[in-house]
């Protein structure tokens, strides 16, 4: 796979030259190469979107049409009943609130502490560093199924059972090591000269971290924030066991409840799943500006 090599040469081009360069950056490589790339991306898009097409079609069907044999693709009697039903008949507004609070808190906390630790691991050579890196990864190796029992007892003992705070603490144990590893890997790629330049200018390490490193961590942060957000959003087991009252129900738990003993309410399940994905998509759209096209020389010189 030939790759990310024909980079736009935005730096240093001005005026008319820039116009031509920008025209050029839309044309990546020879036409055959472009055709192949677009062809491949098209196949990827079909693979990715196929289940979504089915979810959307089902969400707009009546419950009986959803189970028709053979299946229909364009709903015969399209209805917004399920889309409305999850807000009216089920308490999805509340579930969205709970999930959003829990997921955002998990994402922000884990990314903040994770990038601090990642910076520590990347820039300092202290004894036990390798052991601690291993320890952070090792915390992920016990299956969640086994942790949930002890978590319940601990949260209960400190009065955090059935609270959003309790859930955030539980999710942090997964997201924090993840963020640390991702940040460490990313910071390794950030030239050390950047730190040194700032240190020479008289900054202490903490302000180097906040003023120099944090601003260029964008792409890795997008990955870590999304990971933490989606993990907390999509978890079923812990939300199921660590909360119990209706006021604490998360979206995924609400979706799981449409799978009953005697019937699966497919249109509602699909409507819930599609709408349940929206906050993450909005979050990504907000974050995507940090997915820049590579570290620029400017970051080094400033």
């Amino acid at each position: 796979m030939p790759a990310s090599d024909d980079r736009p040469e935005r730096a240093g081009v001005r005026g008319g030259e820039g116009q031509r360069a920008r025209a050029k950056e839309r044309r990546v490589g020879p036409w055959l190469f472009r055709a192949l790339v677009y062809g491949f991306l098209l196949v990827m898009a079909i693979y990715v979107l196929f289940p979504f097409a089915w979810m959307l079609s089902t969400a707009l069907k009546t419950e009986s049409e959803a189970l028709a044999i053979p299946p229909t693709w364009i709903p015969r009697t399209p209805t917004l009943d399920s889309v409305i039903g999850i807000w009216v008949r089920k308490n999805f507004a509340l579930y969205f609130f709970n999930s959003t609070v829990v997921s955002l808190a998990t994402a922000l906390l884990s990314v903040f502490f994770g990038s601090l630790a990642g910076y520590g691991f990347s820039r300092f050579r202290f004894p036990g560093r390798q052991f601690l890196m291993g320890f952070f990864l090792a915390t992920q190796m016990l299956p969640g199924v086994l942790l949930v029992g002890p978590y319940f007892k601990m949260l209960n003992a400190v009065g955090l059972y059935d609270t959003r705070t309790g859930l955030v603490i539980a999710f942090l144990t997964i997201c924090l090591p993840f963020a640390t590893w991702t940040m460490k890997g990313f910071i390794d790629g950030v030239p050390v000269e950047m730190d040194e330049a700032a240190l020479v200018d008289g900054c202490n390490r903490l302000s180097v971290f906040f003023r120099v490193i944090l601003p260029v961590l964008g792409p890795a942060m997008v990955a870590s924030i999304l990971f933490a957000f989606l993990l907390a959003w999509g978890d079923l087991l812990w939300a199921l066991c660590l909360t119990t009252s209706e006021g604490m129900i998360t979206v995924t738990l609400g979706i799981a409840r449409t799978v009953g003993e005697f019937r699966i309410i497919w249109p509602m399940l699909m409507a819930g799943s599609l709408l349940g994905g929206l906050p993450a998509i909005l979050l990504y759209l907000f974050l995507q500006r940090f997915l820049v096209a590579g570290l620029t020389a400017g970051a080094l010189k400033d």
Partner: protein, 430 residues
């Protein structure tokens, strides 16, 4: 600046007052709050029915407030286990019969014997003997029986007619049934029987009747060894598997089909018959109202090879062992399983009761096209062995059925492997 101070002061006062009010509810009467959990609370029709029932209960016992905690069907054991292990289970929980032995043994179900003794002699006489046996552990009652139904064959009479068989003279033997199923099958379009082959709690309910009517059983009478090496068991197993592999009278995909998939097939005329019970017609009607399920469907006793038998569905109620209000919890449980309420559950949800004075006498049940067949089969009903290892044994057994259905192993080989693995599981117990 000053304004902010005042605002803060007001806020602090408001919060303290709110906290005080919350901590000491107005009025001397302390209301007892009971936590009540049931998977039915997540289902529209049942939820309505239960909510109405609870409203009646709260009116009769004004000092008790019932707080409902819905849990989805699949996740209930998981949730109850974690909560029970931490001593924080709901006060009243609804369970399947097959989870009971494990819950008894782990101490997750309160001993109800003292309450029953207090109710006076003969309190339990209203129930059928079999369910009463299942709620006992080491001679003590730890649960109260709820729904009680037998599995029957539910067929689409239009398709039965179309296959050239009169719905009045439906085959009563498995040989006869196979003939019918072949006639009712049009390859690639419709099939004689819907088959549940997924790892699902509904599997054993729909497989056991085959084994038992052929005269076989899962375990020996003392429950210490596997009985899957008997000729009867082999014959039943082979018959079941060959319905799919040789005769192809069941639709493809049996190993991942759960009861709901099979009901969908019935609703869309893809299969002529399935093994179901009282819940089948209402759900099928919901899946496809055009079928006119209540008119077209009909219930039959299961075909027989050696002896008449069927599987029993039983649900039951337990009280959490750490409940702070055992007396109130018992009142709630007594109310839920009362004659009055059991009849309401039937009327609303078409489940027959484990109370003789409901299922055996209520005209509503005896005149119902489906319920009367189900109630008539109760004397032939049988339950799976009530031992703690049962879920594990069933998992092994379902795996064997799947291996035979997919052709990964021959039927004989799969059954023989299951036999030895089940013996190994039982050996661990000794």
């Amino acid at each position: 600046m000053r304004r902010r101070h005042i605002l803060g002061l007001v806020l602090v006062t408001a919060i303290s007052v709110a906290a005080l009010v919350a901590a000491f509810p107005v009025g001397a009467q302390q209301r007892v709050i009971l936590r009540f959990s049931d998977w039915h609370l997540t289902e529209d029709v049942w939820n309505k029915s239960l909510t109405e029932g609870i409203a009646i209960f709260e009116k009769r016992f004004p000092h008790i407030k019932v707080q409902t905690e819905p849990v989805s069907y699949r996740e209930k054991e998981t949730k109850y286990t974690v909560e029970s292990a931490a001593g924080k289970a709901p006060d009243v929980m609804h369970l399947h019969a097959f989870s009971l032995p494990a819950f008894y043994e782990k101490g997750y179900a309160l001993d109800l014997t003292p309450f029953i003794e207090k109710e006076g002699k003969g309190f339990l006489d209203a129930w059928y003997p079999l369910p009463l046996e299942l709620v006992k552990y080491k001679g003590r009652v730890h649960a109260m029986p709820g729904d009680y139904m037998t599995m029957v064959l539910v067929c689409n009479t239009d398709m039965v007619n179309a296959a050239g068989v009169s719905p009045e003279k439906f085959p009563a033997t498995w040989e006869g049934f196979l003939d019918f199923a072949k006639k009712a099958t049009k390859p690639g379009q419709q099939w004689g029987l819907g088959m549940v082959g997924a790892k699902d709690p509904g599997f054993s309910l729909r497989f056991s009747p085959f084994l038992w009517t052929f005269g076989g059983d899962y375990l020996t009478a003392d429950l210490k060894r596997s009985a899957l090496d008997t000729p009867e068991a082999k014959e039943a197993f082979a018959y079941f598997v060959e319905l799919s592999s040789n005769h192809k009278v069941v639709p493809p995909g049996a190993t991942s089909a759960n009861p709901q998939d099979v009901r969908t097939q019935l609703a869309h005329k893809k299969i002529a018959c399935e093994i179901g019970s009282g819940w089948t017609a209402p759900i099928v009607n919901k899946i496809n109202p055009d079928l006119r399920a209540f008119e077209v469907l009909r219930a039959y006793p299961l075909p027989v090879k050696k002896k008449r038998a069927t599987a029993i569905w039983l649900s039951s109620w337990i009280i959490g062992p750490n409940t702070k209000h055992p007396n109130e919890a018992w009142e709630l449980m007594k109310f839920i399983t009362s004659k009055e309420m059991e009849l309401k559950w039937f009327k609303d949800n078409r489940v027959t009761s484990s109370r003789k004075d409901v299922s055996g006498v209520a005209p509503e049940i005896l005149n119902d096209k489906f319920a009367k067949v189900i109630a008539a089969e109760l004397p032939y009903g049988k339950v799976e062995p009530q031992i703690r290892e049962w879920p594990e044994i069933m998992d092994v057994f379902t795996g064997a059925v799947q291996e035979a259905l997919t052709g990964a192993k021959t039927a004989d080989r799969a059954l023989a492997d299951a036999h030895s693995r089940i013996n190994a599981i039982l050996a661990r117990r000794r």
